[in-house]
Symmetry: D2
Subunit: 409 residues, 4 copies
């Protein structure tokens, strides 16, 4: 079997599978599952092209990792074949633990289990199957490998994850402003004291990268319609779970039914290996199939939410820079309560408020470091000729309130 496969990627051109081990990982059902998990959850409600998957993103990030490492090699930093393979595998699998709709359902299907923990568990499982061949990749992933810059290429403010997803999300949404100059930045990477740094002449590209990321957050990732859709989805799943746990029949695929019927903790996960396999059977389709059947469910709340999702009849959302205040929320909630004739817990599924936040640049302890022409290493927010990057390190919060557009269930 020829494992030198080439993937067509409209974003980076052609992506070559670098070695047999990577091929085997890609073939594995754990990884193939990512074909069925959209990178941007429900964002296609706003940007109809945003249907790309975690699968495609992982391949793209692996591709960029390859370029980054050969750049560093050409600058005199030795990278062994084993390290190169391991780093590519680490980034390839960094998202393997994502559940349906990526971040959106993280706390609804598996309350309190972070996707990175699941990634970890799945990697270990794969490593067992592959006889320890992923040891180094896991070390890099968990930041226990001595040469720290490998981990930074997997996870930091300038990792190949972000460089790929910004470019990719820009391509598929059509939001051209998010098209970061990934090639340029990668070519400017350097290493000092085993830490990733960037050559000084890339400083404006870094600025542009941070700005693009900030824009993508507001324009895409935190777009108010997406926030509204995700909240509606979360409530739908919450309601389905509530009914299921009350003993009411709620149609669902095997795997989804399992998770609707019980509350599972991180500890449960570690103690019951089969839970992991069940989780690894979930993807976007389980959710959609449920929603479709629930449109005619006798529970009005569930059917209302499900029809809303299916027909894109989403919650109205108010997004404000300042906290609207308890009183205002209370008043609005009352109104909705009256109009929908819902109270207490039932109303909670229909009336929501919360916060979203965007931190374009995080400095302390995680800075992007610039290597000056004189050989010094300094935080990019210090290196810039304007206080604009510093300005971006402030976290921006917005407040939202969601509730149904219509007045009658």
């Amino acid at each position: 079997l020829n494992k030198k496969k080439i993937f067509n990627d409209p974003v980076h051109g052609f992506i070559t599978v670098p070695c047999d081990l990577v091929f085997d990982i890609i073939q594995h059902p754990y990884f193939q599952r990512l074909r069925r998990i959209k990178q941007l959850g429900l964002t296609d409600f706003v940007y109809p092209g945003a249907l790309h998957t975690r699968f495609h993103h992982a391949l793209g990030a692996m591709h960029l990792m390859g370029i980054a490492l050969s750049t560093l090699q050409s600058k005199g930093h030795p990278v062994s074949e084993a390290e190169c393979e391991a780093a590519q595998i680490a980034i390839l699998m960094h998202d393997i633990g994502h559940g349906p709709f990526s971040h959106a359902l993280e706390n609804s299907i598996l309350a309190g289990v972070h996707h990175e923990n699941i990634s970890m568990l799945l990697m270990k499982e794969l490593n067992k199957e592959m006889n320890g061949k992923l040891d180094l990749a896991i070390k890099i992933f968990t930041n226990t490998y001595e040469r720290g810059f490998f981990h930074q290429l997997v996870s930091s403010q300038l990792d190949t994850d972000r460089l790929d997803y910004l470019k990719r999300d820009s391509y598929f949404t059509g939001v051209t402003e998010g098209n970061v100059g990934a090639s340029r930045i990668i070519r400017m990477l350097e290493v000092r004291n085993d830490k990733l740094v960037v050559e000084e002449k890339a400083i404006y590209s870094i600025e542009s990268f941070l700005n693009a990321r900030r824009l993508m957050y507001w324009q895409v990732y935190l777009h108010k319609t997406t926030v509204s859709a995700e909240n509606m989805l979360i409530q739908t799943i919450r309601r389905a779970r509530y009914l299921a746990q009350q003993g009411i029949k709620v149609e669902a695929t095997h795997a989804l039914a399992f998770f609707l019927n019980r509350d599972i903790t991180q500890a449960d996960f570690q103690n019951n290996p089969e839970y992991l396999n069940l989780f690894a059977q979930l993807d976007d389709h389980d959710i959609w199939a449920g929603i479709k059947d629930w449109c005619s469910h006798p529970d009005k709340v569930l059917s209302f939410l499900s029809r809303g999702m299916l027909e894109r009849n989403l919650f109205r959302i108010q997004l404000t820079n300042t906290n609207p205040g308890k009183e205002y929320i209370q008043q609005l909630r009352k109104q909705v309560s009256m109009q929908l004739d819902l109270k207490g817990k039932d109303l909670d599924y229909m009336f929501l408020s919360g916060q979203i936040s965007n931190s374009a640049y995080v400095s302390q302890g995680h800075a992007i470091n610039i290597l000056t022409k004189e050989g010094n290493v300094i935080d990019v927010s210090e290196a810039a000729d304007l206080p604009n990057i510093k300005a971006m390190s402030k976290i921006v919060k917005k407040f939202y309130i969601c509730y149904p557009k219509t007045i009658s269930l």
Copy 2:
């Protein structure tokens, strides 16, 4: 409610909703369903980016229709506002009858009912809801409107459907050679005797368009892995239906269960309005949810096929230019039969052979007509300075045989 919505389209830029009626159609559940039907069925198994939907394509085609009509207007052909709106609606809805996975399952879920008939029924239904506002659009769609070129813009060898899907499929697959010069061709459109023609200077663009289409057929639409995957999918559905009709429990969403449990004809459809609504509830998710549950179905054939789909463990496929011959097929079939210990009808789900064909240019009665500088109208295959377009009007057939890679169920 502001209905002047703008869609972000990475292919054409921004797409403006031209009027309130179009907005209402887009909002309708019939049309929103197209968000959940991939344009290229299972092609993402080969080109991971090919996840775009009929929804996005329909918007794109509508956009090109707008440009085509304003081009014709600027060349002195009067187009009323009503005609413009109707033509845009006709192309917007041309694919509304597609079922899950577009063409792939056309004959498996609804044997003998063509998607264009369903489009027709759904349009009529919508027209009723909208108090006859779609009359002219339907006339154009059915080619009963007196000004024939409107229909040609909806359906002909140079319609806005093709101009959009080639560009779009090229964009999302990354097969750059399929990126046709749609803008150039549209700007060269003309009308003579109520028929669509193309200015002579566009002749090389037409050649390029036909060639791009031919390439996309072999490289994408008829890619052997896609053919294999679609055959596997068809067999999966066929087996599920067979079991269901035997009285064996087969998990499925409400809508899918309905269609698995009975054979429905075109006549049934016309007589039972609720059938149409049930069909309009189907999309790709129903199929995938079924496949996922069927992976653990007691029927070995169904579970084998389903796992194959889910884990991308597809049939091996042999594609040949010449008919492999009955004898060869018989021999291979025997081998598969022995290896899998399957016979008769059961074997039929696992061993398949058939033909695919590609006709790059169809001349008789459907020619692309060129308007020469002297004012004559001639078939493009005559107008070309080489017999290359004529060469392309021959239908090319290929033969395939599909069977499992593995030897044990």
Copy 3:
């Protein structure tokens, strides 16, 4: 004669000549001259693709003006056909007064005559030839038309000039980060009290636009190699002029010879109509032809500079954030003086120092104004959720010193 010409523009697609008058202007030798003046002067020394011309940019800006005006119309602001034509003509001609190498030689060939004054004179000349048909265009250009937003579309911090050149310069240089979302911004334009404003939801696009512009300044427009090349070019012309005015023979085309041989003021220009026509004969080729012949000129300074230009053997340049100080400059100058055996005025051609500056956002009196959802108009630097735009309104200065790399003439 059919004047409905279409230009192929890789940046915006196809550009249609909107009317006969525009066609006649494009045909005019004054405008055709812009085909021979590169948009970015000597930038192709750094970015080899940056060879695009003022001609192409002017067409692109005209195209964007058309889109901007039809957007405003669709939002209920009446724009007459005459206004539309005039605004397109105003932007088409905004750069018509540029001399060879655009900004680079502005003060060397014609000391003290700003290119905008020459644009003005050439427009008036054209207006005479065209029997006053450009009256309204000139009013808009000079900001004497009562509806002020037309002028703002020609010249302001968000004019179609910038929207075009950033996109175009990004395309031809390959600096992808400069690819501003012009389409999105244009679609968000509005008018309040005859002033151009931008809808609030475009705020991140504006941020991105300002950032892209800032990046293009440092990465492209003020790239140190370009600054060095431009300084070398200026010195070459200055030396040629010095020699010519000393009575020494300096080869040059007729038009260039004329301007080398005398110092011309703004007043001269207005008093001698033939000066304008002579100026309108100059373009990049005159300069290059001179440089080529001067490579073998007996004057060592001139031939040294000319060979440097021709063979891309440019000045060494030091770029610093802080003023290097008189002492340091004096020391360096002395060194160069010794090495080259040049003194006084001769040395001035070989040793240069100066400043460049970049003001990403200018607020006072020229703000980009945001139209909030509540209907208020506020400065974008106030409207942003971070002080980052305010940060960008600080002017950044850098200091440069240029001198020959080599030590012997």
Copy 4:
């Protein structure tokens, strides 16, 4: 001095200078001269973006050569570092002998000396300067190196020259249909018996490539306005040379004056080394500077032609598929003669007729060879499933007649 330069190329991304020797060649005045020679001569009269140079193209072709060779290496064909460097140098310098306006003036400035001979002479000269380091590159260029596929990558129907220029010309003109899938084709290259072949699965990409090339010929390279402009340019130079050789003063730069004043043969060139250096001083600017001065030349023919060039007032051109016939030509010539009051030789500068031809695919002896799955090597026109490539191997000729639009000098 760091010679690891990176060039920004909007077509291929970033181009890295692979080694010091390549850097030195790029720095050499012979190569820098290519910055001043447009790849497509006068094509920017039709496509205003087509201003890219031989310099940029040569870098791009070198870049593709690098990818092609590493592809072949990864398929098991050993390529030494020396071979890789040499092949990249060979393609880098393949166009070094081009004169002003590339092909357009090939027979006017230097009648009877082909640009490839000059390339050869310049390479030898460079090789001398570089102490024989170009020996292998020259062997590859002249096809005297034993491993023949290296030469084929430099010059054949599928060389990196064409793969670059089609992509590049498509990018800068905006004729999107010419954007060949160079990456895909390069990844499908193979070698059998030291000959370049292409894997069978690339067959549709080859078809698409040939078609794109054919389209680019008619749409761009042989565009009738370009043919007209080139003919006008040739006549301008011919007239200038005629006058110069009559002893009439014709303004020109030193280098151009030299070539206007005498007729130089291939033999002269080889015997007089300084001729080569003079030729290496010519570029597009010499021609334009001449044209500009000649606009006011007392010779009416020269000034008429020059003004036509400068103001884009080109010859009218008739392009026909069939030979218009001597009689028709004679008649037209007479008319022009009368209208312009020109006769004999003078008329020859104003009335021209000739042929252009386009051979999309050349088979005999130069075929593109396909490596079938079975391991056979066959001509692509045989391998195709349709006779369309065969159809393209016919040479298409067109006939043109050029003459002034205006009737009075």
